[in-house]
């Protein structure tokens, strides 16, 4: 039907930038969703590659604490592994600083090229290349190989100066491996070298950090175990990758949820745009119907328009999304890197399925959102002449249904959160229901709120002013055109507010917790969170003695992190992280129980029990393992099973997997293990903490330890936290931006449409300035109402995110802290957006030649 296409095209062309804003609104929704999906996929990919790049196919690893595995033991272990159909490969690795690129590091990864093949596709693929200078890698001192992307990312030249501890060395880059998609290329900034090169550079001659093993069965395991030197142990390798994968999953889930919020906001905007496009052209459709256009033809016209707009917007949105993804990816990978492990330079690969998803999303969402307005248009009564029916009536009629739908969804939200299993997925479903339900209620509540505002304006003696009266009436009358956009603005502001309050509360909780928990002055531990978690790198006794001999230490709190096997009340068993320590009596205050201890006596009793062998568990542990204070766990120890009571659940934000605490005396007795993995030191009075740290670092020498003052640790923790949530801030502002844009489109459209009314007002003697004032007052009412309605929704959302989502995904509980300043800011944001939205068209209307405006059809 070319005539319908002509009509659609020309009727849109009358307001080209309304159409453009509509398309931009949809495009932004698609862009945010696509960008998050792309960045998420890229980060996930890079992360997975980093893990396999380092852990490889190993099933087990031989480790021996900070001392390392004596190289001499390697031959016997390898022989034992090979004899049982397995494999073994030595690894020496460490992070070294790039002197010419301050702040950047390179992971030196020393391997035996001949033993690598079964383990890491990445490192062995390198050698398959004929031109690869294998001989140089084996023989030349300081020879390394890096991947092309890594070399480019770090701007490496042939000679690379690095620092490790206090030694400075020069490395030779003998080859770069092209990006052929293998793991090494995508993984962390790794420099591969021969084992002996790494040993020499790192000053660890004769020592291996670990031996990677592939052990096909239990027989191979016991064969290798008998070949172990004293002090060495075998740990399963998979745990590392698995627990990391679980950790990042929670992060990705949160990110996807944010994308979803952006999309919901986008959908509302599309719906508003489409319904306004119909309302605006009521007369056109009625005339067309009078001239003999069937309902089906009108439906086709509106849906056809939506389809074209959807296609345009989807293509634009995907393009914008790809650009945005590059930006988001930097934030995402940095966050994951900070939080969990080293991760390499990730690149956005334009995943075809995500692109198609984005296109489909944009087009389908637009069609879906346009369906209701299109049906509405098709039902237009055929009419010629001036229209008598008031479209506002149809809108008013739909309010009870909106109220019913909104109320129903809120009830459903409650039912899902309370009645269904407390999983994170149900948490999101419940929260989604609540958010959409609240959004549906917004249009219903707008009119009363606006009336309330007008009444308030009256009390403030503004009400007598005819402009104020006119404006408050107009808002009510315009709700059919702007209601959905105002709802979208409310929801977006609410989402932004909710996220802000949640992040703020979380930050406050973390800050408070760090302040009380980091009560010592200096913390010494194995460098990597991951390594410490596995519990396989105790500090050597001689090293410990050397450290504790440093002058200026007032008190020492040793800690042993270990992985122990535990049987839960439901009979299942698993390996869990255990921290064994002996808190100083005055540092007990740092431990906050949740639920809180009933009385000081109860608190004393709990600590007495702990000293006697009861367990404390952290909150995430309690959540994930479904245990509570008073439950019993069976801890399997070398000296037999111990049935231990959980004396209390303690607040702890250090790990989202959780841990059990045991008194170190009990641990030593039951596990016959004197090892230490970390030390907390208190400085003697008058001793500068930073000086103490410097002396300790000197005493540690080349040992791979992290020695940090509590202040630095706290700052670092808060930095990581802020970076983690930097991305959520970006996304929530994007969502708010989409909403503001949509509102501008909607309000601008209304103002344009009212050009005739404005012309009449001006003909009646209203000045251009008063015309603008009228529009501003009108938009102010609308914006204030949207902002005010966003407050309860936002606070409820924050409560949901804090008490449901965070609790379910991380197991962390915290108080919701409602910052009044944020509430004020939300209302100001909404009102400001609304005023900007109304100003442009009002300004134009005020300047339009009167005669032309009066006669415009």
């Amino acid at each position: 039907m070319t005539i319908l296409a002509t009509i659609a095209w020309r009727s849109q062309r009358q307001h080209p930038w309304l159409a453009a804003l509509a398309i931009l609104g949809i495009a932004l929704g698609v862009a945010v969703a696509t960008a998050i999906a792309l960045a998420n996929a890229a980060a996930r990919h890079a992360f997975a590659e980093s893990i396999t790049g380092i852990v490889g196919n190993a099933s087990h690893q031989v480790v021996a604490g900070s001392a390392g595995v004596p190289e001499g033991a390697y031959a016997a272990i390898r022989a034992a592994a090979l004899a049982h159909g397995g494999a073994a490969a030595p690894v020496v690795e460490a992070e070294v600083a790039l002197i010419d690129r301050p702040g950047r590091t390179l992971r030196l990864f020393g391997i035996d090229p001949f033993a690598e093949a079964p383990f890491r596709a990445s490192t062995s693929a390198v050698q398959r290349d004929r031109a690869f200078p294998l001989a140089r890698l084996l023989t030349e001192p300081g020879a390394i190989v890096v991947s092309q992307p890594t070399a480019e990312a770090l701007g490496l030249s042939d000679k690379i100066r690095i620092r490790h501890g206090t030694t400075i060395r020069e490395l030779t880059l003998i080859a770069t491996v092209p990006d052929d998609g293998n793991a090494l290329n995508r993984s962390a900034t790794i420099a591969v070298c021969d084992v002996s090169t790494a040993q020499e550079i790192l000053g660890r001659l004769g020592v291996l950090d670990r031996i990677d093993l592939i052990l096909p069965d239990g027989e191979a395991l016991s064969a290798v175990t008998t070949a172990l030197p004293s002090g060495a142990e075998i740990v399963p390798a998979a745990r590392r990758g698995d627990s990391l994968r679980q950790l990042t999953e929670a992060f990705h889930t949160n990110l996807s949820a944010l994308g979803l919020i952006a999309l919901v906001v986008g959908m509302f905007l599309i719906a508003n745009t489409a319904s306004f496009a119909v309302v605006r052209r009521r007369e056109l459709f009625s005339r067309l119907r009078a001239h003999g256009a069937t309902p089906g033809q009108i439906l086709a016209l509106v849906l056809g328009e939506a389809l074209v707009a959807g296609i345009f917007a989807a293509v634009l949105g995907v393009a914008l999304g790809i650009a945005l993804a590059h930006f988001l990816l930097r934030l995402v990978t940095r966050t994951i890197g900070d939080l969990y492990a080293v991760i390499g330079p990730a690149t956005i690969s334009i995943d075809r399925s995500i692109v198609l998803q984005g296109l489909a999303l944009g087009i389908l969402a637009t069609l879906l959102a346009a369906l209701w307005p299109a049906l509405d248009a098709a039902r237009s009564a055929p009419r010629l002449g001036l229209l008598r029916t008031v479209p506002e009536r149809a809108w008013r009629r739909s309010l009870p249904w909106l109220a019913l739908g909104g109320g129903g969804l809120l009830a459903l939200c409650g039912a899902v959160l309370v009645g269904l299993p407390p999983t994170i997925t149900w948490g999101f479903v419940g929260l989604g229901c609540g958010l959409i339900g609240a959004a549906l209620l917004v249009p219903v509540l707008l009119l009363p709120v606006v009336s309330g505002l007008a009444w308030l304006a009256g009390i403030l003696a503004l009400g007598r002013h005819p402009l104020v009266t006119l404006a408050s009436r107009a808002v009510g009358a315009n709700l059919s055109r702007t209601g959905i956009a105002v709802a979208a603005l409310s929801v977006a502001c609410a989402a932004a507010l909710g996220m802000t309050l949640m992040v703020g509360s979380f930050r406050l909780a973390l800050d408070t917790w760090l302040a009380t928990t980091l009560s010592a002055d200096v913390y010494i531990s194995a460098p990597r969170l991951v390594a410490a978690r596995v519990g396989a790198q105790p500090l050597e006794p001689t090293l410990t003695a050397r450290l504790l001999a440093v002058p200026g230490i007032a008190a020492v709190l040793p800690k042993r992190d270990a992985v122990v096997s535990v049987t839960f009340p439901d009979g299942t068993s698993d390996d869990v992280d255990m921290a064994a320590f002996e808190p100083l009596p005055d540092s007990r205050d740092a431990f906050v129980a949740r639920p809180a201890f009933a009385s000081p006596a109860a608190r004393e009793a709990a600590w007495t029990a702990f000293t006697g062998g009861a367990l404390f568990v952290t909150e995430p542990f309690a959540t994930h393992r479904a245990v509570k204070a008073g439950d019993h766990l069976i801890v399997h120890t070398p000296t037999g099973d111990q049935r231990l009571t959980i004396a209390a659940v303690l607040v702890d934000y250090s790990s989202d997997q959780g841990a059990v605490y045991l008194h170190r005396e009990r641990y030593r007795a039951w596990f016959s293990d004197d090892g230490i993995t970390a030390l907390a030191l208190t400085a003697a009075p008058g001793v500068e903490v930073e000086d103490l740290c410097a002396r300790l670092r000197l005493a540690a020498g080349d040992a791979p330890l992290s020695i940090t003052s509590s202040r630095a640790l706290k700052t670092a923790s808060m930095t990581v936290f802020d970076r983690t949530f930097a991305i959520t801030a970006v996304i929530r502002w994007l969502a708010a931006g989409v909403a503001v844009l949509g509102l501008i489109a909607a309000l601008a459209a209304v103002q344009f449409e009212r050009a005739r009314t404005t012309a009449r007002l001006r003909a009646a003697g209203v000045t251009p300035r008063e015309v603008i004032a009228l529009a501003v007052i009108e938009c102010l009412f609308t914006g204030l109402a949207a902002g005010l309605l966003a407050i309860p929704i936002g606070v409820a959302l924050a409560a949901g995110l804090t008490h449901v989502i965070n609790r379910r995904s991380f197991g962390w509980s915290m108080e919701l802290h409602t910052d009044p300043w944020q509430l004020v800011l939300t209302v100001a944001l909404a009102a400001g957006a609304a005023i900007i939205a109304g100003l442009i068209p009002a300004w134009r209307a005020s300047r339009r030649p009167l005669a032309e405006a009066l006669h415009a059809d």
Partner: protein, 225 residues
């Protein structure tokens, strides 16, 4: 359905219509024969436009039946009613007849286009007959009120409808222009063998009528002129 209906251009059988409890039409009976010109007189608010809307199938009666060119409107679907209006009815109102999105030519061509038929020749001929030959490319916004009504007349007659409904088509025009429009309507309708219902509150137009309807207090009285 009595056999007379089949031949008539329009029949109202005991048609009643009220708005918000106020009875506008009270069991109205009326017939327009093919080729007949009817002038409908009545005070403002008496229900003249309501009769036009009912006749064109744009509104449904509360009771009674409207038969348009042999088709009882209440018994067909909304789509069929629309097609009937598109093919068998021509409409001219006081103003706002045209789509500002379309050119003069496109406005006159609209019904053919909606039907997927060509009709270019008919449209050209029609524009020539209303004195707008060569102006098909202009936009209605740029025409005078009289010229706009000529376009409306052309659009209402180009498809040779059985029934033309003109609701105060001269209401917004000066007397001279009004005369021209009425002449055009009458001449073109007669030339194409259609019937015309001409709504007005100006008694002078009784002169053109084959039959006069007077609407008063919900009752329609008929007289031959």
């Amino acid at each position: 359905m009595n056999p007379a209906d089949v031949k008539s251009a329009l029949t109202f059988n005991r048609v009643s219509k009220s708005f918000a409890g106020r009875t506008i039409l009270n069991a109205v009976d009326a017939t327009v024969n093919p080729g007949e010109i009817v002038v409908l007189l009545g005070r403002s608010g008496s229900g003249k436009s309501t009769i036009v809307n009912l006749a064109a199938g744009m509104e449904q009666p509360d009771s009674g039946s409207v038969v348009l060119a042999g088709h009882p409107l209440a018994q067909v679907s909304e789509r069929e009613r629309t097609l009937l209006r598109r093919r068998s009815v021509g409409l001219v109102f006081q103003a706002f007849n045209l789509l500002p999105e379309l050119t003069v030519f496109e406005n006159v061509h609209l019904r053919h286009a909606l039907d997927g038929r060509d009709g270019t020749k008919e449209v050209e001929a029609m524009l020539a007959e209303v004195g707008l030959a060569g102006r098909g490319g202009e936009h209605p916004d740029h025409l005078s009120g009289g010229e706009q009504q000529r376009v409306a007349v052309a659009a209402a007659l180009v498809h040779q409808p059985a029934l033309v409904l003109a609701d105060e088509p001269t209401g917004a025009l000066d007397q001279v222009t009004a005369g021209v429009i009425v002449d055009l309507l009458v001449r073109l309708t007669r030339g194409r063998g259609g019937a015309l219902v001409f709504v007005t509150h100006n008694p002078e137009y009784v002169a053109i009528a084959d039959r006069v309807w007077r609407l008063d207090d919900g009752q329609l009285s008929q007289e031959r002129s």
